[in-house]
């Protein structure tokens, strides 16, 4: 395509001399770049297996054992119900915190007075540990769905608010003036000038929000509801079964990472196509 600059990555020597002496010359650059990382991971697996030989599998599971347990969990259809419940709570909490947080962040950016006023509230909210809200929401809402969602929202929305508020501060005044000079009306300014500048912040808020929400959901479930992955975690914790605990925890972690990659990576590429680093 005309005008698009191809991105060239500078070639760097990534391996020290003594290592590269052992490797064949024709190894492509990308592999030699990944090699130390891959080696560390492989070494990690070996060390893990080695340590696990000294302990009972239910106390310190080796990689094979862990994998086995995970298969066992996901062969059972009941597990999917459990995961589904947790995902539902995460989703609701995440959506609510995004809505409330974005609204608050925008409003804080708009009026200096509101900004100063809510700044203190947000500071206080950010100081509350997750476990405190988990307790309080159980005491207030009992073992209902509201408890974990309430916990999630109260912890996550201040982060979103702060992020969006920072975004409003970073809006370029010059471009707003340009729009005004050409007499663009409010809707046009919002659509074409303001919101595109807030997109990176909205985007990063979405990622942070999701990543926080699922971790808090686990804590909230551990202390309340009586169902969900978090409840599995505390259940196995109380039964001193590290293997099952890790199996549930790690597998859920993998699920959330996949969701993050699937949704956000592909979306980023589309929304930010105008940036030179994404030029194809």
């Amino acid at each position: 395509m005309h005008g698009k600059l191809p991105l060239k990555k500078a070639k760097r020597r990534v391996l020290p001399d003594f290592l590269s002496a052992f490797l064949p010359d024709f190894l492509p650059d990308s592999i030699s770049r990944m090699l130390p990382g891959a080696l560390t991971l492989a070494a990690g697996l070996v060390v893990w297996k080695a340590i696990s030989l000294f302990f009972y599998p239910i106390f310190f599971p080796g990689p094979a054992v862990l994998f086995e347990r995970m298969i066992a969990i996901y062969s059972d259809p009941a597990s999917y119900v459990v995961v589904g419940q947790t995902l539902a709570r995460i989703f609701e909490g995440f959506v609510l915190s995004m809505l409330i947080g974005t609204a608050l962040g925008l409003v804080m950016g708009l009026k200096r007075g509101i900004e100063i006023f809510f700044d203190s509230w947000i500071m206080v909210l950010l100081t509350f540990p997750a476990v405190c809200w988990a307790f309080l929401s159980v005491l207030w809402f009992g073992l209902s769905e509201t408890a974990p969602i309430f916990t999630i929202v109260l912890i996550v929305f201040p982060y979103v608010a702060m992020n969006i508020w920072a975004g409003t501060k970073a809006v370029e005044k010059d471009l707003l003036l340009m729009g005004r000079v050409y007499k663009a009306d409010r809707s046009l300014m919002l659509r074409k000038v303001l919101i595109p500048q807030l997109m990176p912040y909205i985007f990063s808020s979405l990622r942070i929000s999701l990543s926080l929400s699922w971790k808090i959901a686990l804590v909230a479930e551990a202390f309340g509801v009586g169902s969900g992955v978090g409840q599995q975690l505390i259940n196995w914790f109380q039964n001193t079964r590290v293997d099952m605990m890790l199996a549930w925890g790690v597998s859920f972690m993998i699920i959330m990472v996949l969701i993050d990659l699937l949704i956000f990576r592909t979306w980023a590429r589309r929304t930010f196509a105008w940036r030179p680093e994404f030029a194809t």
Partner: protein, 264 residues
């Protein structure tokens, strides 16, 4: 001048508004079981400070031990994290090997780390230490690593052309550029640390503020639970914003004030 008074007035006003909101909500609920008002909590706190805890220990001991745990684990993680982060920044091999590990560690949910640490190291201080370090060290490491990457190479080149020695370079070029990262790592790490310590104490560490509010939670005593939570939050607020913010604004006096204004 007027705007400064305005700012302070608004801040004070917002805290007052928060307290009023709380009080109004509690009056509405009209049930001490659901939402005790701020006055009830305040009086409970004062009473608690004179009452021995379930094991007969002084409440100040609980507070003290929590603070001790927080500080020890915090410093341990800061030192380890800074070391690793700088190593990653300065040594290419370190960087390539550890880079893959960091996102992994960062994604692990805190509660899992705490559970595993407690199970492997028991209901002891070691358990809390491991849990905190496992979560906070990667955080600090990433921060410091980003700091080394964001360093302005042109300034280093400039210093080298003037034949600046190692020590001069370190003091005047490297460290000032790393300071913002050190501070932000400080802040974030501290925030995470106390939350993990609270979680760990809740799960069965003996003594501590977390231990107290789990104790009252089990008794379904919302007044006491809230009282201990408030004590904890207040303490942390004072530490975070009183101490750290002060330090931060002094260290960054050379920067435009907009940054400092944004915080405290």
């Amino acid at each position: 001048m007027a705007s400064k008074l305005n700012t302070i007035g608004l801040r004070v006003g917002s805290i007052v508004a928060l307290l009023l909101l709380w009080w109004a909500a509690s009056k509405l609920m009209n049930d001490a079981e659901v939402l005790p008002g701020p006055l009830a909590i305040a009086s409970t706190i004062l009473k608690d400070l004179h009452t021995p805890g379930p094991e007969g220990e002084s409440p100040y001991f609980d507070i003290g031990i929590t603070l001790a745990r927080i500080f020890v684990t915090f410093f341990a993680s800061m030192i380890a994290g800074t070391g690793i982060g700088l190593a990653m920044g300065l040594n290419r091999l370190c960087e390539r090997s550890l880079l893959a590990l960091i996102p992994l560690m960062l994604t692990m949910p805190t509660i899992l780390m705490v559970f595993v640490a407690i199970m492997w190291f028991g209901y002891s201080e070691a358990g809390a230490l491991v849990a905190v370090m496992a979560v906070v060290t990667p955080l600090v490491a990433v921060n410091m690593y980003e700091g080394t990457r964001a360093m302005d190479k042109s300034l280093i080149d400039m210093a080298v052309t003037f034949k600046a020695g190692r020590y001069l370079l370190l003091r005047n070029v490297y460290i000032p550029q790393l300071m913002p990262y050190i501070f932000s790592a400080f802040r974030y790490a501290f925030g995470q640390t106390w939350k993990i310590v609270a979680l760990a104490e809740t799960f069965g560490l003996k003594f501590g503020i977390g231990y107290m509010f789990f104790f009252w939670f089990q008794q379904f005593d919302i007044t006491q639970t809230l009282a201990w939570i408030m004590m904890f939050v207040f303490l942390m607020l004072v530490l975070e914003h009183g101490v750290f913010a002060r330090l931060e604004s002094r260290a960054f006096a050379w920067r435009s004030s907009s940054l400092a204004r944004g915080r405290a």
